[in-house]
């Protein structure tokens, strides 16, 4: 069955990829059970706040150079606007590009709109976005409110599109529709695929698509060694750049979780092959990734030489860091595949994987040709005894951490990083997913951990005074971190 369908919406991950939000066991068992799709997404009796699909969708739509975004919602849904504005300014400046600002308005749905409908407000927001930003496309981010009151985004978008003469793209990322926030990536990419992406008019043999966030430019220097150019998607691309992503030689990603859907469609519908290697995190995976890319770009003749030179280049500093970090243990808490990626760097620094918590788990990818990153992780590192899945839930994670007692934490979820710090565990916050990419990424991670170790007094000081809100009953008397899972009662 085709991955892409000409429907307004793409199905959410718990139905499409049989994603789950809770598991506590070892990695190999999770792989085995996933093959049979044996696990279900049940939910729990008690939980702490997670994140929503909208917050993932906006990471793909808000940073397009010449597109505007309308949050068709009450004001709270787009409230990260300032942070996004700063991110886009900072990243464009750091790359020497024209300074880009956020182009977003909220339709500001109020109570009367939930009764009489908010279509007129949406039209007004579209016309104001057109006046203020002069965009070449407008994304409409749906919300819980717009979804429940049954706003007809398709009709408004189609009518306004006729009027303005450029794509108006509804993104169906209502927060309540999926328990798995990563469904929001698929919702955004589905909109881009439906309304912007065009079949290639020509091919660009040296161009590699890289799906990522609005982060550092670390892929360009890596691929430049093979004489290749990077087409960063979707942030910092343009409407035309999005339309022409089909011209690339192949597509890569920082993380299968981000781009499984769009990469599967690009391969299936437009013949752009996806790189069949895990993302370039850790030395072995970077080697593999470069060799795989070389196949699609006619660089097999030079790739081994490049890899060897890179190994030589980083060796002196790597040896020093390994000596400093040798034998210490690392616990990784991140979103699905990205957790696998970061965990794979650990061994390169002489460190041990204490355990991994993935913030969700897709039991399979959109296409069976795609890489199973958890399988790759186990192949490269052996089984991981402490492997769990939970969507944030610091009350569960604190129990796991108290048991495992890692020397370091790697976290990519803003608000969980605080927990590690309050527990006195030196924590690396992977807020910039690109920073740990490639050979230099291994060194950068090592430097950060070494610095965290040498400056530990700061977080010791925090831990000494931090008071956490959890009850003695929960911390001391309950054994199972998944006590509140539906299957447990």
């Amino acid at each position: 069955m085709a991955v892409f369908k000409e429907t307004a919406e793409v199905d959410v991950r718990e139905r499409r990829l049989h994603s789950i939000l809770s598991y506590n066991g070892d990695a190999q068992t999770l792989i085995d059970k996933s093959k049979e799709k044996a696990l279900t997404c049940k939910g729990r009796y008690y939980g702490q706040c997670a994140a929503c699909a909208e917050s993932c969708a906006e990471t793909a739509t808000c940073f397009i150079e010449d597109a505007a975004v309308i949050s068709h919602a009450p004001i709270g849904c787009c409230i990260n606007a300032s942070r996004f504005n700063i991110a886009t300014r900072a990243v464009t400046a750091s790359r020497g590009l024209k300074t880009q600002s956020l182009k977003l308005v909220s339709s500001n749905i109020l109570e009367k709109d939930t009764v009489y409908g908010a279509a007129e407000k949406l039209r007004h927001a579209i016309s104001e976005a057109d006046r203020r930003f002069k965009p070449k496309a407008i994304f409409i981010q749906a919300s819980c409110a717009s979804g429940i009151i049954g706003e007809d985004l398709e009709s408004v978008a189609n009518e306004e599109e006729q009027k303005l003469g450029y794509p108006i793209i509804p993104i169906y990322c209502e927060g309540f529709k999926s328990k798995v926030w990563s469904s929001g990536f698929d919702a955004a990419f589905h909109g881009i695929l439906r309304k912007i992406v065009k079949p290639a008019k020509k091919k660009q043999a040296d161009l590699v698509n890289v799906f990522n966030f609005v982060n550092s430019d670390t892929f360009s220097p890596l691929l430049a060694k093979l004489g290749l150019r990077v087409n960063y998607l979707a942030p910092l691309s343009s409407v035309q750049g999005l339309a022409e992503m089909t011209e690339a030689a192949c597509s890569a990603t920082i993380c299968e979780t981000l781009s499984t859907y769009i990469n599967a469609v690009l391969e299936e519908k437009y013949g752009v092959p996806e790189v069949k290697a895990p993302a370039p995190y850790g030395i072995d995976w970077t080697d593999k990734w470069l060799r795989e890319i070389a196949k699609y770009t006619n660089k097999t003749n030079i790739v081994d030489e490049v890899i060897e030179a890179e190994h030589e280049r980083i060796k002196p500093r790597l040896d020093v860091l390994k000596e400093k970090l040798q034998g210490k243990s690392v616990y990784v808490i991140m979103g699905d595949s990205f957790a696998h990626n970061m965990a794979n760097i650990v061994k390169d620094l002489g460190l041990k994987i204490a355990g991994v918590t993935a913030l969700h788990h897709d039991q399979h990818t959109d296409s069976d040709k795609q890489v199973n990153t958890l399988q790759e992780l186990v192949t490269s590192n052996g089984n991981i005894e402490n492997f769990s899945v939970c969507n944030s839930q610091p009350y569960q994670i604190i129990k796991i951490l108290k048991k495992v007692k890692p020397d370091f934490l790697l976290i990519r979820h803003e608000h969980l990083t605080t927990l590690g710090t309050k527990l006195g565990i030196p924590t690396f916050f992977a807020g910039d997913a690109n920073i740990t990419v490639g050979y230099d990424g291994v060194i950068k991670l090592g430097e950060s951990l070494y610095e965290a170790l040498r400056t530990k007094k700061l977080i010791d000081n925090i831990a000494e005074h931090a008071v956490l809100p959890y009850s003695d009953w929960w911390l001391d008397e309950v054994d199972d971190p998944l006590y509140f899972e539906r299957s447990n009662k």
Binding site: Y45, Y46, Q48, C52, A53, P74, C144, I148, H413, H415
Partner: protein
């Protein structure tokens, strides 16, 4: 006001979870979609000069993470489970349920669920704070009202003649709330009052809230936010209130503030004059030590003013800059979306602070329109300071003006205990406003600014 919002400066009503998190040992329980609570924290916790999760905010907030099932079949059961779990997993003295769009559109009786727990003796309060119902300030007022009604409850006041309850800045939505509230408390204690400050580390938490009915009077320091709460307390416990609409910043307003409070509280005049004399002696010693700087750096210093902030801060701070530092107000933008009935009064309050303020006030929450207006009105950008948020920083950089961080969102600064309230707050604002000259240029000598 066009209804839409570019460059938001407040969040939705659900962000009042921050009001709850500001009460020591109190927990929000959010009955909403999975992203609402995190976003509210991201804005008013992180995006407020990194005010942090504290004891009970951020990722620790209990949440039903409402999904399709609860939207279709109702979410009361899920809320009940979540409250049960929160009571077991978390240590806390007060649990306040806040609802989001999902719960309130599908019509869950969330307050009813909370009340069933309260009836069994649990400290649980229910509120309806769907995002479409209003903004952060609206939500703050709702939370105040419901905690008073459901938790403080019907009590026979046992009045303590020295005790005052303070309602003022909105925690987290005012990024300086920690410092501000401590400063207000210190000032009031100096004239001999006992203070229920209600939020932050200088509050005793829930016991202070329970003690609310026993106050001699309520003090509201804000033009309109909190007015409903003090009126409610007047009806409920017959407690009179003093409405002091201007946030006291600097010596003149703070001394005036202390005199009015003392008079209302029946405090001996000599006591308060002694306090004022002492505070002013210190204040003007600092102030006068800058006379040389003012004299010699006039050519480099800003003298024209735009302020973008909520009504409490915009009026309080502009009053100080105009009346004590001689600034020319070019535009005062109030962003908290006050109800129509307050708009004329806000203008009256501002103009009562000086004729210069005539026709300077704009009540607007669409940041895009505010910035268009500033661009139209600014005449001497190099002599202008813009007080506002991170949004105004970039406007000021574009216009080559100075800027001072005052209001949300503030994503690029770290605020620990800074406050612009009181005598000390005025001096700190002095430092910020004039210090901005050196921060926005490569090099500055008397009268000459190096290029940026």
């Amino acid at each position: 006001m066009s209804g839409i919002i570019e460059q938001p400066r407040f969040s939705c009503a659900l962000a009042a979870q921050q009001t709850v998190a500001a009460i020591p040992n109190a927990h929000p329980i959010v009955h909403a979609g999975p992203g609402c609570s995190s976003k509210a924290h991201e804005f008013a916790g992180t995006g407020a000069g990194f005010q942090g999760e504290g004891f009970a905010g951020g990722a620790t907030v209990s949440c039903t993470n409402t999904s399709e099932q609860e939207v279709v079949f109702g979410g009361e059961r899920k809320l009940e489970d979540t409250i049960n779990g929160a009571l077991k997993v978390l240590n806390g003295d007060l649990f306040v349920v806040l609802t989001g769009c999902t719960a309130d559109i599908v019509g869950d009786d969330s307050i009813g669920v909370a009340k069933r727990f309260a009836a069994q003796g649990y400290p649980v309060v229910g509120t309806e704070t769907a995002g479409f119902k209003g903004n952060t300030y609206y939500g703050h007022n709702v939370v105040l009202r419901e905690i008073i009604n459901q938790f403080v409850g019907n009590a026979e006041p046992n009045v303590d003649a020295k005790l005052v309850n303070v309602f003022s800045v909105v925690p987290f939505q005012d990024p300086y709330w920690r410092g501000d509230l401590i400063e207000i408390k210190k000032l009031l204690e100096k004239i001999g009052l006992k203070v229920n400050i209600l939020f932050g580390s200088s509050s005793d938490g829930v016991s202070e809230w329970k003690n609310i009915p026993n106050a001699k009077f309520n003090l509201l320091i804000s033009p309109w936010v909190g007015l409903d709460a003090v009126k409610l307390l007047e009806r409920k416990y017959k407690t009179p209130y003093l409405h002091y609409p201007v946030l006291p910043v600097g010596a003149k307003e703070t001394s005036k503030f202390l005199r009015e409070v003392a008079e209302f509280a029946g405090i001996d005049k000599n006591t308060v004059e002694k306090v004022i004399a002492n505070e002013e002696r210190i204040y003007y010693d600092y102030f006068l030590s800058k006379a040389d700087f003012i004299a010699e750096f006039r050519n480099s210093l800003p003298s024209e003013l735009f302020t973008v902030a909520d009504s409490t801060y915009a009026i309080g701070v502009s009053n100080y800059l105009v009346n004590e530092l001689g600034f020319i107000p070019k535009g005062i933008y109030i962003t908290d979306s006050p109800a129509d009935k307050y708009k004329e009064e806000l203008n009256n309050i501002l103009v009562s602070k000086g004729e210069e303020f005539t026709d300077t006030l704009t009540i607007e929450y669409d940041g895009g329109l505010i910035q268009e207006d500033i661009k139209n009105k600014i005449e001497r950008p190099e002599k202008t300071v813009i007080l506002g948020s991170s949004w105004e920083k970039f406007l000021a950089l574009d216009l080559k003006s100075k800027y001072v961080y005052l209001s949300l969102p503030l994503n690029e600064t770290v605020i620990v205990n800074k406050s612009f309230v009181g005598y000390d707050g005025g001096l700190r604002l002095f430092e910020e406003v004039y210090g901005s000259v050196f921060k926005s240029s490569d090099s500055v000598v008397r009268g000459i600014s190096g290029s940026r």
